[in-house]
């Protein structure tokens, strides 16, 4: 009940904010403005995934998020690590941004683990990739064709 009340209040605030943005931003940025004040998932160029409440943007697709967290997925395990209160993502690092359907945010096939566990899994994955990477580099060096 409480949550619903809050949601409505936010809805009005959202209209005001969107109007304010519309007045100042050129038309071509409309695609982003429509997404303001919705929870978004952003994929960055280095593969990281950030989830947060989308609060502001500009023509470079610089993006501002409130209460974001990084979603780390390794195999079938995942963990959300908070990133602080306000976060700005530089546009050139953005691959894509999609609105998160709150009803089915996490696929049921994934299992929540602790930050320590996910870090460990991440490290193991990184080491494996490192071995593969080194092999490839060695081959490049030999210039076999």
């Amino acid at each position: 009940m409480d949550g619903q009340g809050q949601g409505q209040g936010q809805g009005q605030g959202q209209d005001r904010l969107a109007n304010r943005h519309q007045a100042r931003t050129p038309l071509h940025a409309k695609a982003l403005i429509e997404e303001l004040d919705h929870k978004q998932l952003v994929v960055l160029r280095d593969g990281r995934k950030i989830v947060g409440l989308f609060r502001s943007c500009d023509q470079f697709a610089n993006l501002v998020f409130q209460n974001p967290y990084e979603r780390i997925i390794v195999g079938k395990q995942y963990c959300d690590l908070p990133l602080g209160s306000i976060y700005l993502v530089r546009g050139e690092n953005v691959v894509m941004m999609g609105r998160v359907d709150e009803g089915r945010e996490i696929p049921s096939t994934l299992q929540l683990v602790s930050p320590a566990e996910i870090r460990k899994a991440q490290q193991a994955e990184k080491e494996e990739q490192l071995i593969r990477g080194t092999m490839l580099k060695r081959l490049d060096f030999l210039d076999l064709e």
């Binding site: 071509h28 940025a29 409309k30 695609a31 982003l32 997404e35 998932l41 994929v43 160029r45 593969g47 995934k49 697709a61 979603r71 997925i73 995942y78 546009g91 050139e92 953005v94 691959v95 894509m96 941004m97 999609g98 609105r99 998160v100 359907d101 089915r104 945010e105 996490i106 696929p107 096939t109 994934l110």
Partner: protein, 94 residues
Amino acid sequence: MLFYSFFKTLTGKEVTVELKNDLAITGILHSVDQYLNIKLNEIKVVDEAKHPHLLAVKNCFIRGSVVRYIQLPQDAVDTDLLHDATRREARNAA
């Protein structure tokens, strides 16, 4: 501006966008801007098993600079029109 105008004529059609990180997303083209940033609705990730985090996402904004290819619907491409527009654009650029 040629491709911006062209993609505007494709809104509402289904396209598959392949990104430079090898992620491929099929969806209905919602809008495009001068940078060829793209917004898709009703998206489906081609290799869903590899990208489980995107199952919760139904629409998305893709930054133009990360696009490698866009696969176009066959019936939406008028090649004669494209040839003319390309020649015109080439003349104007010269």
